[in-house]
Symmetry: D2
Amino acid sequence: MINVTIFNEFVHEKTDENVRKIYPEGIHMALKNYLQDEKIKISTFTLDNITDLTKEVLDKTDVIIWWGHLKHHEVPNEIAKNVCESVHKGMGAIFLHSAHFSKPFMSLMGTPCNLTWREDGDYELIWNINPAHPISQGIDRFIKLDCEETYGEPFGIPEPDQLVFIGNFEGGEVFRSGCCYQRGNGRVFYFQPGHETCPTYHNEQILRVIKNAIHWAKPVYRIKEIICPEVKKPMEE
Amino acid sequence: MINVTIFNEFVHEKTDENVRKIYPEGIHMALKNYLQDEKIKISTFTLDNITDLTKEVLDKTDVIIWWGHLKHHEVPNEIAKNVCESVHKGMGAIFLHSAHFSKPFMSLMGTPCNLTWREDGDYELIWNINPAHPISQGIDRFIKLDCEETYGEPFGIPEPDQLVFIGNFEGGEVFRSGCCYQRGNGRVFYFQPGHETCPTYHNEQILRVIKNAIHWAKPVYRIKEIICPEVKKPMEE
Amino acid sequence: MINVTIFNEFVHEKTDENVRKIYPEGIHMALKNYLQDEKIKISTFTLDNITDLTKEVLDKTDVIIWWGHLKHHEVPNEIAKNVCESVHKGMGAIFLHSAHFSKPFMSLMGTPCNLTWREDGDYELIWNINPAHPISQGIDRFIKLDCEETYGEPFGIPEPDQLVFIGNFEGGEVFRSGCCYQRGNGRVFYFQPGHETCPTYHNEQILRVIKNAIHWAKPVYRIKEIICPEVKKPMEE
Amino acid sequence: MINVTIFNEFVHEKTDENVRKIYPEGIHMALKNYLQDEKIKISTFTLDNITDLTKEVLDKTDVIIWWGHLKHHEVPNEIAKNVCESVHKGMGAIFLHSAHFSKPFMSLMGTPCNLTWREDGDYELIWNINPAHPISQGIDRFIKLDCEETYGEPFGIPEPDQLVFIGNFEGGEVFRSGCCYQRGNGRVFYFQPGHETCPTYHNEQILRVIKNAIHWAKPVYRIKEIICPEVKKPMEE
């Protein structure tokens, strides 16, 4: 069983009628309802109960999924730091869409994570550039989204360990839409689609990518504590 | 002075009236006329005199530029092998457009270098995704080409050491258009634009990229012979 | 069931009494006896029957393991090419020790794969530098080998996608001993230990690494043919 | 002219007689005296005047060199953050030895940067594994240091963009001793040697590496502000 924790700030869905129509229970519940199955067990947290996202919860989380946009600054530094440390110890992390500016993603990247953007109803084609990657299994040449916020390069991230998807927007932009990293013992996947005013997380192929990413990001090796020990000579150990 | 050798198969320009109009002296001469300056000295070779592209020439070449399309198979294996060995010893190499299927590029990559393609007059926007790379200096957010052959992903190359450009085609494709590699002691740059029926190599920004790539790819360190020597213990040397 | 094919040139074991004592049935049979289990089914080939290593065999092979040293040149070019194409289509490949100079490994790397070496009975410590990689699971901080041929840097390979092990030799050398690559759809692992005059492939931890590598390298996605198709505009497909 | 700023915490040299003998004016002054030349102009800062290391100073700095050990926590968060932002905007940064645990290095990496260590007078051989990298020019197969603190793997860093040096320690450890990264528009180099009780920064080859790294890390492209702008469609711009 893979224990997945979803954090969604859950603000747009309560303040914007258009968003509520798409995600009446919130993005986190939409994701949970689609992704939970016999191998994946999901807990959800929002800004309203983020203080419940304790170290104990993170210690039992195999993969965290993060969606945030308006209220990144309201996520307590301590919690963002705990998320990063859990990744370092082996937990997987999937950052969706505007979570490029979330505290834990920015800390894990070490870069500004800036980009250009435009919100005018363009369609997006998300191209599968590495059909042999575990995260792109079951995905054809591209995923078509009739509506998505446009994100454009340059995207201020480190060169990805593996680049799996590149987005093409109707207006002419491109974007590194699916990026894999290892940070400490943990695996990190950034996935660009998911603007709150578009029904992206009702798209089966998008959900398939996220489910694949859960399986890819689950811990291979997990440690209890990060140490920096004084050691003896190896031949004398 | 950087000694640059351009190889162009020089077939389309002699057999297709439309191409001849764009490059009356051949792509190699167009490139030579634009790129040669007080720091760059250029020699050219075509399929007609490819046997003159000897080891001695390669030994004196700092950077080779390669354009080919119809007649990759007519490049002698021995010459392709010598080009690769010169790269291994430190020579830089720039492969343009359809040279993705040239013998030396495929050998240096170790992969199929396959792609999808379409030729129907689409425009292309080539996005600068790494504005701090030496090859993208002087290039704005993107280069616009009114006409270019469409190349699409997946592109069968190894994950680039640095990805500098991504192309966006009118029809919706994306392509890793500017890819950097180190192979042995030499640097390799693949640059996608340059279809023979489009005036791509008359575009100042495209030429700027190629000139930047010459400066980036020139040898940092060059050896005369690749060896695999038996050695003494380092502390006894 | 993972179908593994082992190729061992099987020359030293027949011509050198010391090697025969260590591997009386050949390195391939030692590996087969240790690695075969309820999930891994192994076939073996040697130089004597290498022409039986047909495309049909490769098509059914999930992971190939390659050991060669004296007779790399006797491996037919056609078979080396078929191995590379199978990797491109999705097959995994594990190259052991002196297979750094084998035809398929060199072709897949696109580099000289040269190194320095010394054979004087040094011990080696193989350090696990990425404890979260699937290939290093079950391996402690390092593997100690009382006897191994010394391989030294610079090792003429492309920057690995992931570097998992670094070897330290008694005399003072270091070596990138465990290197991961993707080539086309297939995964490639190079693993340095395994000199024929040392009982390396009787070491449980070395075998554990190779078994891990089999599981890591098995195909994620496999295609029947490598194509370069002309396509329609994505929105018109 | 390359403007280099050296930060050295300058504690050991004032509190430990052995260290003072080696670096009577401090590590920063030793480095300055060796590295300053007609192309490199150096300013120095220590913990005593770290508040003078303002944004204005960083804006004029092309490459910062950082040495710290005992008092990482006394570097104000604001200054560490400014250093990172300057790197993102294009400034180069060289982190020496125990600066692996400095605030700016850890922030730029996004990982724990932990390691194992031992201090018992071992010699170190630092191997040049990429003789074609600009940072290893003028360095032979290895640099021998008669005395250095032992650092061991696993080193909790992201996979380097390029790995240039690997250290071999007398006791048997290995360490990724020379690691290159790009972070935002800036280049980062980590270089392991330089324990305060050893005369490492009087070694000509070590100084040569640092000087090479200054030239490599100097800004290629520099921006005044990191922005995340709303944009128009590229074809309408």
